[in-house]
Symmetry: C2
Subunit: 719 residues, 2 copies
C-alpha cells in the first residue's frame, strides 16, 4: 500500500469537515437574533468573548512564537513548525467553539420564543455542532499537516529520520497541549473567578440579582461559561485525539508484536483512517438530529451519539478487514486474529459509553438526592455526602478503563491499548457537539430571562439546559477517561521508544519516581484551587472599584466596564497557569535527568493513577453537588426545601466548592497527565544521551533490525 | 553468632519494658483522683470505656477464635497461634492506652489544680507513657513470641521450613492488622459518630452545652476521644512496628545483596536489636521528662523525643559496627560500607523528624491563619482553603519518604529500605507516649471545667492541651509516613518472596493492577466517610429516644443511659468496618488469583501511592481546619472574629468536615495499605501454586542455592 495517498485523504476529509462546519455556522449566523435587548446582551457577550480572545491570543501568540523560535534553534525548522501548527490547530479548536456559542445562545433563545422546542434544539445543537466538527476536522487536518512536515528532506541521513519523526510529532502534540493547558486550566480559572466574583459582589454585597446588567462581572461570567466549557473542552478533546493517534502510530512503529512491513504500515495507517471515519460518522450524527423527534431533547442527544458510534464501528470493521492484519507476539507465541484491532477500537468506544452511563448513575438524580437529603443537617453534611459520592464514583470509571485496557491488550497487544484510546476519541465531533450544546442552552436561558420572552420560552430553554447539563457531567468523565487511556497509550509509546525492557516497580528508584508522580496531581489540584480563589479576589476588587468610582452604574444610568472585568479575569487566569505549566514541563525533565528514564516511567504511571482518580473524584463530586442544589431549588425532594431553606443554604455551599472542583482542578488533571507524557516522549532522544541513562535503552528502538523496519515505515509514510 | 540468644534477649527486654510500664501505671493509679464530681465523671468515662472494650472484646474475640480455627485447619497450629498472638498483642496495645488514658485524665486535672503545671504535665505524660511503653514492649515481646513459635519441629522437612516461617510471621502480622483495622477504622467511626451525635442533638436540637452530663452521648464522646486517638494509634503503630521488623527479616533472608551466611544472620537480627534499643531509649526518654523544665510543655515533649532518638541512634551505631556487615550488589558490583545499615536506620529516623516538622509547617498557625482569613468569605471559601492546604501538604511529606527510600537504598540496597522503616518506628514507645498525652490533656480540660476547679487549673490544662494537639497532628503524619515506608518494605518483601524478576509497569496487566490498586483507597475513603454519617445517625436516634422516653434526663433528675449510647456507637462501628475489612482482604485474593502475582504487585504499588497521598491530604486538611477554628475562637486573627461571627460559623463547617477526614478516613488508609501488603505476603505460597502464576517466580526464593542459604538462616534463628 502506498501510504502517500493517506496524506491526500486526510487533507480532503479535513477540508470537507471544515466546509461542513462553515456551512452550519453560516446557516446559524443567518437565524434571527431576537429583539433589541437580546441583541444588546448578545453583543456584550460577544465583545467580552472577543476581549478574552484578544488578550489570550496576544499572550499565547507571543508564547508560541517564543517557544517555536527556541525549538527552531534546538531542533530545526520542522519541529518549530510542528509546534506552531499544533498550537494553531488547538487554538482554532478552542475559539471556534467559543465564537459559535456566543452566537448560538441568542438565536436559541429566539427560537425558543418562536417557533418552539424543535427549532430551539436544532439551533442550539448547530452551535454545538460547529464546535464539535471543528475539533474533529482540525484533528484530521492536523494529522495531514504532520505528513506535510515529514516530506523527505534531501540529504538527511536515514538514521536520524526516526529522531526527526519523533521530534515532529511530539512538537505538534506539545503545541496542542500547551494551548489546551491554557484553555482548560486558564479557562477554568477565568470562568470560576468571574462566577464567584459576580455572585459575591452582586448578589451578596450589593443585593442585585444574578445576571444583572449593572454588574460589571455579569458579562465575564457568561463569557466564562463558554470559555471554560466550550473552549476548554474543545482544546482538551482535540489534544487527546491527536495524542492518541500519535501514540498509536508510535507504538505501531516500534512494537515487536507488529513485526513485518505490511503489518506496520497497516498499524500506522489505522488510527488515521479511524479519525476520518469518526469525522464522517459525526457529520452524519449532526444531520441525523434534524430527523429525530425533538420532544425529548436528552434522548435525541443520546441517539445521535449512539448512531455516530455505530456508523464509526461499522466503517472500521470494513477497514480493519481490508487492511488484513496478521499479528503475533513473538515472546509468547500468541497469534492475534485479523480482526484484533477492531476489538480494541470497539473496547475503547464501548468504554466511552459505559463511563458515561456510570457517571450518570453516580452523579445523577439518585446520588444527588442523597446529597440533598444530607443537606438538611447543614453544610458539613452536604459537603461530606458530596465528597463521599465523588470518591465512590471514581472507582467504577477506573474499572471501565481497566476493562478497555484488558480487552484491547488481549485482542491486539500493546498496540491495541493505544488504539482503544483512538476508538474512544474518534467520534469526538459528535461528543463535543453534544457537550458544547450545554453552555449554549444555559446561556439561552439567561437571555430568555433578561429579554422577557415569557414563561413558555423559559420552559423550553430549561428543558434544553437540563438535557445539556446531563450530558455535560457525562462528557467530563468521558474526557477524563479518554485522557487516561491516551496517557496509558503515550506511556506505552514512551517505554517503546526508550527501548526499556521494562519499568520495574521493585527497583526503589522507580518507586521514588512513582511516589513523586503520584504527588504531582495533588500539588496541581492545590495550585488550581488556590488560583481560582486568588483570581476571584481580583475580579471582586475590580467590581468594587467600578461601583465606587462610578455610582451611575448602580443607578443603571451608566453601563459598567465589562471589558475591564474580562481583562482582569483573563490576566489572572494567564498568570495563574504558569505554575502548573512549569511543573508539568519541569517534572519530567528533572526526574528523567536526575533519576533516569525508568524512574520517569514510574513518575508517569504514578501521575496517571492519582491524576485520573482525583479528576474523576472532583468532577463527579462537583456535578453531584450541582444537581443536589437544583433538586432542592425545584422543591423536588422532601419538605422544608426550596430556595431560602436551610437545606438550600447548605447545598449552595456544596455547589460553590464543587465549581472549582469540576470546572478547574478536575479537568486540569487531563492536560497535566497528557502533557507530562508528551514532554517525556519528546525528551527521549535527549534523555538517552545523558550519562545516567547509558545502557537504559536496550530494546526495539535501538536494535539495528528494528530500526530498519521502522525506517521503512517512516519512509513509506513520508514519501 | 548464635541467634538463639536473641530469643532470650527479646523476652527479657520485653518483660522489663512491661515491668516499667506497670510501675508507671501503678504510680499513676495512686495519684489523687480529685473531688467527688470529678471522680463521678471519671467513673462514667471508665465505665463507658469498659462497655466499649467489652463489646469490642467479645466481637473481636469471636472473630479471632474463628479466624484462628480456620488457620488451624488450613495452615496448622503454629500459624493459628501466631495469628491469635498477634491479635492479642495488638489488643493489649490498644486497650492499655485506653485504660491508662481514662485514669490519667482525672488525675491530670487534679494535679493542675494542685500542685500545678509541672505535676500536671508529668501526670498526663505518665498516662501517655503507659500507652507508649506498652506498645513498644509488646512489639518486642511479639517478636519473641514469633521465635517461640518457630522452634524446630522434629520431623519437618527442611524444604517447607521457609513456607512455615512465612506463614507464622504473616499470621502474626495479620492478627495484629485485623485488630488495628478495627481500632483505627472502627475506633474512628465510633469516636466521630459519638462526637457528631452529641453535638447535633445536644447543642443544636436541645440547646444544652457541650460536655453536659444530661446528654446521653457525652460519655460516648469522651470515650471516643480516647478510643480513636489512644487505642487506634497504639494498635496502628504496634502493627507498623511489627510489620517493618517482619519485612526487614523477610528481605534480609532473600535479598541477593546480602549473600553469605554471616551477613544474613546480621541482617535478620539487626531489626530485632533495633526495637529493643528503641524500647530502652523510649524508657530513658520517659524518665528524662522529670528532669526537664516544665514551663514550656510543647518544648519538653519535643526534647524527650529527640533525646530518645539520639540514644537509639548511638546504640545502633555500636551494634551495626559490632555486627560487621559486608554487603555488595552482585549485579552492579557495588560494595556497601559496613556502616551501610546504620545510614538506612538514620535515614528512617530523620525522615520521621522531618515529616513532623513539615506537617507542623503546613498545618500549623500560618496555614491555619490563611484558612481562618478565608472563612470571612463563608463556608465554601473555608472548605476550599482547607482542601487546598491539605492537598499541598501531602507533597513534601511524600518527598521526605522518597528521600528516605533513596538514601536507604543507596547505602544498603533493598534491605536498607525495609530497615529505614524500622529506624522510623523503633522509638515508637516515646512517639506513642507523646501522642497519647494529647487526648489525656484534652479530657483533663473537660474535667477541670465540669469539676469547677477554677481558671488557674484551666489555664494549665489548656496549655497542656495545646502542646498535645500540636504533637497530635504531627504524629498522625508520622504514622502515615511510617505506614508508607512499611508498605514499601513489605512490597520489597513480597517481590523478594514471589521471586519476581520485576514488576513491569509496561505490562498492561500490571497497569490494570495499579489502576485497581489506586482506586481502592478512594473506595475505602468513601465507605468510611459514609459510615461515620450512618453511625452518627444511629447515635442521634438513640439520644432522641432517651430524651423522649425519659423526660427526667433533661430535668437532670435521672442519669442518662450512657452505656446504651456507647453500645449503639460500638455496634455500628463494628458493623461499618466489615466492608473495608473485606475489601482489604478480598482485593489481593481476587487480583492475585485473577490477574497474577505481577498485577498484584502493581495493585499494592497503586494502593500505596493513592493511600498515602489521600491519608496525608485528609489528615492534614483536618488538622488545619481544626486549628483555624481555634484561631478564630481565641480571636487571634483580624476583626469580626470570635465565637458567633460569620467566620466562626464557616470555620465550624470546615472543622466538622475535617473530623471524619483526620480521625476516620485518613488513618484508615494506614491500615489498609499495610493489611493488603500483609495479606499478599501471606498468600504468596498459595498464589504461586495457581496455574496463572506458573513460571512467575523466577528468582531468589525458588533458586536452590538461595533456598539453602535461607534455610540456614531459618535454622539459625529457630534453633
Amino acid at each position: 500500500m502506498d501510504l502517500t495517498i493517506l496524506t491526500d485523504w486526510l487533507w480532503t476529509l479535513g477540508l470537507l469537515g471544515l466546509g461542513v462546519t462553515f456551512f452550519i455556522w453560516d446557516r446559524l449566523r443567518k437565524l434571527p437574533p431576537g429583539n433589541e435587548v437580546m441583541r444588546g446582551l448578545a453583543a456584550q457577550i460577544q465583545s467580552g468573548a472577543l476581549a478574552f480572545a484578544r488578550r489570550v491570543g496576544i499572550v499565547l501568540g507571543v508564547f508560541v512564537v517564543a517557544a517555536a523560535a527556541l525549538l527552531f534553534v534546538a531542533a530545526g525548522a520542522r519541529t518549530a513548525a510542528a509546534f506552531a501548527g499544533g498550537a494553531l490547530c488547538a487554538m482554532a479548536a478552542a475559539f471556534s467553539g467559543l465564537f459559535a456559542a456566543v452566537r448560538a445562545n441568542v438565536r436559541t433563545a429566539e427560537a425558543a420564543r418562536y417557533p418552539g422546542l424543535p427549532a430551539a434544539l436544532r439551533t442550539g445543537f448547530s452551535g454545538g455542532a460547529v464546535a464539535g466538527l471543528a475539533v474533529a476536522s482540525l484533528a484530521v487536518l492536523g494529522a495531514g499537516l504532520l505528513f506535510l512536515l515529514g516530506i523527505r528532506q534531501p540529504g538527511v541521513y536515514e538514521e536520524i529520520r526516526f529522531r526527526e519523526f519523533a521530534e515532529i510529532v511530539s512538537g505538534f502534540a506539545m503545541g496542542a497541549s500547551s494551548i489546551a493547558l491554557f484553555a482548560r486550566v486558564g479557562g477554568g480559572i477565568f470562568s470560576k473567578a468571574a462566577d464567584m466574583g459576580a455572585d459575591l459582589v452582586g448578589k451578596v454585597e450589593s443585593g442585585i440579582p444574578e445576571d444583572d446588567a449593572r454588574n460589571p462581572a455579569t458579562i465575564a461570567d457568561l463569557v466564562g461559561d463558554c470559555a471554560g466549557d466550550s473552549a476548554g473542552m474543545g482544546a482538551d478533546l482535540f489534544e487527546s485525539c491527536i495524542a492518541a493517534v500519535i501514540a498509536t502510530i508510535a507504538v505501531g512503529m516500534t512494537e515487536a508484536t507488529l513485526g513485518g512491513y505490511e503489518n506496520r504500515i497497516a498499524a500506522v495507517s489505522l488510527p488515521l483512517f479511524a479519525i476520518t471515519v469518526g469525522l464522517i460518522a459525526s457529520i452524519a450524527g449532526v444531520f441525523l438530529l434534524n430527523y429525530l423527534k425533538p420532544e425529548k431533547p436528552a434522548q435525541a442527544l443520546r441517539t445521535v451519539q449512539l448512531a455516530a458510534a455505530a456508523i464509526f464501528l461499522l466503517g472500521m470493521l470494513g477497514i480493519v478487514f481490508a487492511l488484513g492484519f496478521d499479528m503475533a507476539d513473538e515472546t509468547t507465541g500468541r497469534v492475534y486474529g485479523y480482526l484484533g484491532p477492531f476489538w480494541a477500537l470497539l473496547a475503547g468506544s464501548l468504554a466511552g459509553v459505559a463511563v458515561g452511563a456510570l457517571t450518570a448513575a453516580f452523579t445523577g438524580p439518585a446520588a444527588a438526592r442523597r446529597i440533598a437529603d444530607a443537606s438538611a443537617a447543614g453544610p458539613a453534611a452536604n459537603v461530606l455526602a458530596g465528597i463521599s459520592a465523588g470518591l465512590q464514583s471514581s472507582v467504577p470509571a477506573v474499572l471501565v478503563v481497566c476493562g478497555a485496557v484488558g480487552v484491547a491488550y488481549a485482542t491486539s497487544g500493546l498496540y491495541g491499548i493505544a488504539l482503544s484510546a483512538v476508538g474512544m476519541l474518534a467520534t469526538v465531533g459528535i461528543t463535543m457537539a453534544v457537550h458544547a450544546f450545554g453552555p449554549i442552552a444555559d446561556n439561552a436561558g439567561g437571555i430568555v430571562q433578561l429579554g422577557h420572552l415569557g414563561p413558555d420560552a423559559r420552559r423550553i430553554t430549561d428543558e434544553l439546559h437540563t438535557a445539556g447539563k446531563e450530558s455535560g457531567s457525562v462528557i467530563t468523565a468521558f474526557s477524563i477517561c479518554s485522557a487516561a487511556l491516551t496517557a496509558i497509550a503515550l506511556y506505552a509509546a514512551y517505554a517503546s521508544w526508550v527501548g526499556l525492557e521494562g519499568i520495574n516497580l521493585v527497583d526503589p528508584v522507580v518507586v521514588i519516581g512513582f511516589l513523586i508522580g503520584g504527588a504531582i496531581p495533588f500539588a496541581v489540584a492545590a495550585l488550581t484551587i488556590t488560583s481560582v480563589t486568588k483570581a476571584a479576589g481580583a475580579v471582586i476588587a475590580e467590581v468594587r472599584r467600578q461601583f465606587s468610582a462610578n455610582p451611575g452604574i448602580m443607578e443603571g444610568t451608566v453601563a459598567p466596564d465589562s471589558a475591564a472585568t474580562v481583562d482582569v479575569a483573563t490576566r489572572h487566569a494567564l498568570r495563574e497557569m504558569i505554575a502548573p505549566g512549569v511543573l508539568a514541563v519541569a517534572a519530567p525533565v528533572v526526574v528523567g535527568a536526575g533519576l533516569g528514564v525508568e524512574a520517569l516511567g514510574g513518575m508517569l504511571a504514578g501521575a496517571t493513577v492519582t491524576g485520573v482518580l482525583l479528576a474523576l473524584f472532583m468532577a463527579n463530586a462537583g456535578s453531584a453537588w450541582d444537581m443536589a442544589r437544583q433538586q432542592i431549588e425545584t422543591g423536588l425532594v422532601g419538605s422544608g426545601r426550596g430556595r431560602g431553606s436551610e437545606a438550600h443554604a447548605a447545598a449552595v455551599v456544596g455547589d460553590s466548592i464543587g465549581d472549582p472542583f469540576k470546572d478547574t482542578a478536575g479537568p486540569s488533571m487531563n492536560i497535566l497527565i497528557k502533557l507530562m507524557s508528551l514532554v517525556s516522549l519528546a525528551l527521549v532522544p535527549w534523555l538517552l544521551s545523558l550519562p545516567i541513562n547509558r545502557g537504559a535503552g536496550t530494546r526495539d528502538a535501538l536494535e539495528p533490525e528494528s530500526m530498519e523496519a521502522l525506517l521503512q515505515v517512516v519512509t513509506a509514510l513520508f514519501g
